[in-house]
């Protein structure tokens, strides 16, 4: 687009808005006060509430620990007949994943997506990723893709397996944003993922497995922070 046209449009739009903008710009909305007033449900542990919510969105939640999650993963891989598993090479999960039975061929996301497309789109059955936390209120995962775990790792394969530490759970999205200081350090793409992809576009009938993953498996790791 012609830079001159763009500059003209910009100044015309801003001039119209400035001319009409109210002198009183109002007070900042009380977001913190609102969330401060929300009572935390105490009927059960945060991990239990998260799992309940996540399951209501048809996520499979597998309770495990820092010591046995790799075995739980092996069982899932066998049960679902996953033959090609995709993962990031330098994540804390890598060693555990690498120990999987040789019947599963393991792919590390090492190349750029452009050259990796044939494998990514046609071969991979499941992608396994870390998570940055979860939200108990809605059963959502916080997924921040990066150089090691690209965006498409949790998007293109039909199954997404996510590893979540119970100690990284937060009550609400707001609480997670505050505690993890999102505003100062957002990655190029940050996601909340709640259940597998779905649609109700045909006659309001809910179908799981639209364009994103058809299945979401959450390995919920209980135990101490850093264990």
């Amino acid at each position: 687009m012609n830079p001159a046209d763009n500059a003209r449009a910009r100044s015309a739009i801003l001039a119209r808005l400035r001319e009409a903008a109210p002198a009183d710009t109002g007070t900042a909305p009380g977001v913190a006060a609102y969330y401060g007033r929300l009572a935390t449900p105490e009927r059960s542990s945060i991990a239990t509430r998260f799992a309940e919510r996540a399951r209501s969105w048809r996520a499979e939640v597998v309770d495990c620990t820092a010591h046995n999650w790799a075995e739980a993963l092996a069982r899932i891989v066998a049960a679902k007949g996953i033959r090609h598993l995709l993962a990031g090479r330098t994540t804390p999960l890598a060693a555990g994943i690498a120990a999987l039975a040789p019947a599963t061929s393991l792919h590390w996301y090492d190349e750029t997506m452009e050259t990796f497309k044939p494998v990514l789109f046609d071969q991979i059955d499941a992608g396994i990723s870390t998570t940055r936390g979860g939200i108990a209120d809605t059963g959502s995962l916080i997924v921040w893709p990066d150089a090691d775990e690209p965006r498409t790792l949790s998007l293109v394969p039909p199954i997404h397996i996510a590893v979540l530490h119970a100690h990284t759970l937060h009550e609400t999205l707001y609480a997670a944003m505050q505690a993890q200081r999102w505003a100062g350090q957002l990655p190029t793409n940050a996601l909340l993922v709640t259940g597998p992809s779905k649609t109700a576009d045909i006659q309001r009938l809910l179908v799981y497995g639209a364009h994103g993953p058809k299945q979401l498996v959450i390995l919920l790791l209980h135990g101490e922070a850093g264990a």
Partner: protein, 493 residues
């Protein structure tokens, strides 16, 4: 659905409505969908006080954003630039389409995959690109069905609610090679998924709308269930997002309450599958994501709504569609009748600014003013009040007392017959002698009353003066205490 379809022109509103009202299948589809969405939303807001509190917060956030709009847009521009996102400004649809065309040509892209975007509908992107040999492929399941069928969205959240699964089965069997005929909805979705996978994989450009822009972080926030939004903004080399200038909010934490208000009001879900926060193109060390991200900010009449204090509230909208789900008029005539991109109550109050009050003059009258739309609005837009103000602006050539300037098409619905009728009414009611004369003449000329008056008499009996005026009747009225005497007098003995 009948062979004849409602026209994509708000001037055809009345004809369109009659067409839909006469179609029992369409009416059943809409009624069913609206009841479903209304019930689901109600289940999400069981406590009226809790809803009111959250809505007040949402309203404060949107009002705060609009009060600071020029500053927030400047801040957004700075942050986007730091994040490596290209910002384009477009005053109208033609300018926005020119930007798309320029980018498509520069990247030599024969196709674009599209996530759901109402603003792209507003500018007629698919049609404009097709005219230049560029195919825009809708990837939202509902939009994809409509595109295959050459139809239009009838709802901003559930675009294909007017179709049955049998309709979709026929559309897929006809237009997707090798699809075959099935009415199994899981199978139909699987067919759609397969058909679109390769498009995601090969398209050079992905197009999306935006639900919220964050000035503080320079982020584009997208809300969706299907994953087509993520694919469109992740796999192609170039991502072009388009949205209105009003979509910006000040800080990232404002997204939390707006997100929950949006999903619960729209589809009655506590959350959608994906909240996708995009704050930049692929970095040098990253392996995927678009290499270029462009954002087009569209005005297209929004600054007219912004100019007037009352109409500014229109721009608080977060496009959840709750007002249409709860509108008794929308539930009967459906979204296609409005002939505009945005149907229902929100369409009736935003379209006059995006288009003009001339072609959209009938839309603000498409309401019984029952107030349901205003009650369910998650950001507290006084929709019934704005409908009244637009009705008034349509009928008066001069701007109202508090209005800065005339709206585009102000006074378009003004009718000389109506003006004369009201003038005559005022004259009669202000002069007692004239009134008495009129009241004496009218009953005596009652035989001359026209029997058929278009509009009124289509569904009602014609109006005709009484045999005796109210005055005459009162003059001969028997006092209450002598009712018995009256009865005696009339008894047939």
């Amino acid at each position: 659905m009948s062979a004849e379809r409602p026209t994509a022109d708000p001037r055809a509103f009345k004809d369109n409505s009659r067409l839909v009202l006469a179609d029992p299948v369409l009416r059943r589809n809409f009624r069913g969908a609206m009841d479903f969405l209304t019930d689901k939303r109600a289940a999400q807001f069981p406590d009226a006080d809790a809803f009111a509190e959250l809505r007040d917060l949402g309203k404060q956030i949107r009002q705060h954003a609009l009060a600071n709009l020029p500053q927030l847009l400047m801040q957004l521009e700075t942050r986007l630039h730091e994040n490596g996102i290209h910002l384009h400004w477009a005053e109208d649809a033609a300018a926005a389409n020119a930007i798309f065309l320029d980018l498509a040509r520069r990247h030599d892209a024969p196709t674009m995959v599209k996530g759901k975007s109402m603003v792209s509908e507003e500018i007629g992107l698919n049609h404009e690109m097709a005219a230049h040999g560029i195919a825009c492929i809708e990837t939202d399941m509902g939009e994809y069905i409509l595109q295959l069928d050459g139809d239009r969205p009838s709802h901003i959240i559930m675009p294909a609610i007017h179709k049955t699964k049998e309709d979709v089965a026929k559309i897929f069997a006809t237009h997707i090679p090798g699809a075959g005929y099935t009415e199994d909805v899981e199978e139909l979705i699987a067919i759609g998924r397969r058909a679109l996978r390769n498009e995601f994989r090969t398209a050079k450009i992905g197009v999306s709308g935006v639900n919220f822009l964050v000035a503080e972080t320079g982020s584009l926030v997208l809300v969706e269930n299907e994953g087509n939004g993520r694919l469109s903004t992740t796999v192609p080399d170039v991502h072009i997002a388009i949205t209105g200038i009003e979509k910006v909010v000040a800080t990232l934490d404002h997204i939390a309450p707006l997100f929950t208000l949006l999903t619960r009001s729209a589809t009655g879900q506590a959350v959608t599958t994906y909240l996708n926060v995009i704050s930049g193109p692929r970095r040098a060390d990253e392996k995927d994501g678009p290499r270029e991200v462009h954002l087009i900010l569209l005005d297209n009449g929004r600054s007219q709504a912004y100019r007037e204090e009352h109409f500014r509230a229109t721009l608080q909208c977060i496009r959840c569609g709750a007002c249409m789900n709860h509108c008794p008029v929308y539930a009967r005539i459906g979204g296609l009748s409005y002939g505009t991109t945005y149907p229902g109550p929100i369409g009736a109050i935003i379209s006059p600014h995006l288009m003009n009050l001339d072609s959209t003059r009938d839309l603000p009258t498409a309401s019984s003013l029952c107030g349901a739309c205003g009650e369910v609005c998650p950001v507290g837009i006084p929709i019934p009040d704005l409908l009244m103000r637009l009705r008034e602006a349509g009928r008066h050539s001069h701007p109202a007392a508090q209005q800065r300037q005339a709206l585009k098409g102000q006074g378009a619905a003004r009718s000389i017959v109506e003006v004369v009728a009201w003038k005559a009414w005022r004259l009669l009611y202000a002069h007692s002698a004239l009134y008495a004369l009129f009241a004496w003449i009218a009953p005596r000329l009652r035989v001359l009353a026209v029997a058929a008056r278009s509009g009124w008499t289509r569904t009602r009996a014609p109006l005709r003066p009484a045999r005796r005026s109210l005055r005459e009747q009162l003059a001969t009225r028997t006092p209450l205490h002598s009712r018995k005497a009256l009865r005696d007098r009339h008894s047939p003995d």
